[in-house]
Symmetry: C2
């Protein structure tokens, strides 16, 4: 507080810093623009022309946050990956309905405006937007002192994609006997961090610089591994119409997410022995004494995306994905019933 009275800066909100941060962000955002992006930063709303290459255009939209994975960014001081996790998570969430991304907006709320941190965070967002051919159309950076700690922030995002009405993946094509293929995750992705942090830091007593058991990499690196985008890998298969469905394995794990894409009357039989549980999850489960079913409800357990494939397409789909360098286990099949039944 100055001698004359209160100003906004006295109250903890620095409009000039916000303005400087906005200028830096402008160039980051510019790198994600495409021919449909009609606006720059600074306008009230971002403008994006609806592409005219899709008949019966349907917008597919999703909102998500990074969740408490952000704590890892705070603990390590590495702020340039969480934005990638967020964008990739959102890209996967609309991909499973058959949509390609058009644009993304972020919401970043901080206690204090640290320009360097804001720039790192948005760099991560912009990097993943570029990688997914998605325009970073806008966003909000909110200063909320008394709300967030000075060195903490929350980060959420919002994506809009496009699919032709007759190409929407809504589960209606899925039939009994369809085969479930799995694509590996790159780590925890963005789910289960509240439990994982308790186990790793409180129960195992590790610090971010310590080596993670069995992995020979620092704990911080392991827990910050970027959530994969499956867009590049799966888009060709979607364009060719070879998939009946896709499930993104996020909060709730396989039993929480796979049934979301199955039609009424159908369930999934999944053999957890069909793939090797990555050491990360084995260490967490063992160290935390977490029951097996609970592990599969909280974590992705190594499978980040599940493909529902008609039997006649399985060989071709596996061959295409294997050629792209992936290991693609057959996890099980679609059966009469509901929910997920473990067959092991």
């Amino acid at each position: 507080m100055g001698d004359g009275g209160w100003s906004y800066r006295d109250a903890g909100v620095d409009l000039d810093a916000a303005e400087r941060a906005k200028e830096r962000l402008t160039s980051l955002v510019a790198g994600t623009r495409d021919a449909h992006t009609l606006s720059g930063l600074g306008m009230f709303g971002g403008l994006y022309a609806v592409p005219d290459d899709v008949a019966g255009p349907v917008l597919v939209s999703s909102a998500d946050g990074v969740g408490t994975k952000l704590k890892l960014a705070f603990m390590t001081g590495r702020h340039d990956t969480v934005g990638q996790c967020l964008v990739n998570h959102c890209v996967n969430d609309i991909l499973v309905q058959g949509a390609r991304p058009l644009f993304f907006l972020d919401y970043l709320a901080t206690g204090a405006m640290d320009e360097s941190v804001v720039t790192q965070v948005v760099t991560g967002v912009a990097t993943a937007c570029r990688e997914n051919a998605c325009a970073l159309l806008g966003g909000e950076t909110a200063q909320m002192p008394d709300f967030y700690a000075a060195d903490e922030y929350d980060l959420a995002g919002f994506i809009v994609g496009l699919v032709a009405r007759d190409r929407i993946l809504d589960g209606s094509a899925i039939e009994e006997g369809d085969v479930l293929l799995g694509l590996p995750s790159s780590g925890l992705h963005t789910n289960g961090y509240t439990l994982a942090r308790r186990i790793v830091f409180d129960h195992m007593g590790l610090r971010v610089d310590d080596e993670f058991p069995e992995l020979e990499r620092p704990v911080g690196d392991v827990l910050l591994d970027v959530h994969r985008s499956y867009l590049g890998l799966l888009w060709p298969l979607l364009e060719e119409g070879r998939l009946h469905g896709l499930a993104h394995v996020t909060g709730g794990g396989i039993p929480g997410n796979l049934p979301r894409v199955l039609p009424e009357g159908l369930g999934a039989a999944v053999d957890r022995g069909a793939w090797t549980t990555p050491p990360l999850f084995r260490v967490l489960g063992r160290a935390g004494g977490v029951e097996r079913d609970e592990m599969y409800r909280v974590f992705n357990m190594g499978m980040g995306m599940i493909l529902v494939v008609p039997p006649g397409e399985v060989d071709g789909v596996v061959a295409a994905l294997t050629a792209a360098g992936e290991t693609v286990p057959v996890l099980g099949e679609v059966v009469r019933g509901s929910g997920v039944t473990w067959t092991d």
Copy 2:
């Protein structure tokens, strides 16, 4: 923690409560659906068919948060209005580019999942979505213990609207001599709360149940007044093409927002004596000893939306708005130069 080991609930995340909250939200969301809404809640992404009544369809999108106005909800226990503020804020932000809303998604992050609070918050969001003919297409409710206090939350939102390419309000039509008309705000809207709370609670020592000086209403009510949507009022004028521009007076006040819509080489001359400063702002300024220019930089000072109108349309626009019950002062005019010049 149970005796056998950790579970997600032990770690503070209650997936069952999240599931129950989701069920309650489904019916709220259903009330906002329209013919273009192709999906319900529970799918990975919300689906919205692009309306085909607009030639050269351009999407206009904006992200925003409620900011520290949320503290008033926490202090009063009233959680059903902040969602309205958020939606209306977003609606106004795309309206100023000429767009009508299509759909909205919210991001609600809480420390603990209080189903009653979540339901109240989303009720506010859904209410305003209905009022603005905007589908509540989806959202994310994140449980983040260790991040938010158990009884606190953050709330952000994302809107997507539609405008015909040749009807975008981008400032290019604005000319020297255009008249600036003002539409009253309904209070602080969603800006300046960090400063306002310091003045009201720390400096003036008021509590939320106390009467606000000069207003004969409780402090909590005054500070929670819902951010107005100007959509219903202004949409007919936009459809008739009678406006050259619109500026939503948010963070940064008139000097921070009006120049955003003016083309290069033009500024605004504004007479602050053209309207009566509402008592709310006079009390805040006086009690906080805030300098006049700072007040106009932080708060809307009673004007929530500024219309840029060609001189020949002023009488008709004022007549239409007056007939709708509004008081519409002439604030000034567009002049050569840049930024806002106060003429008093």
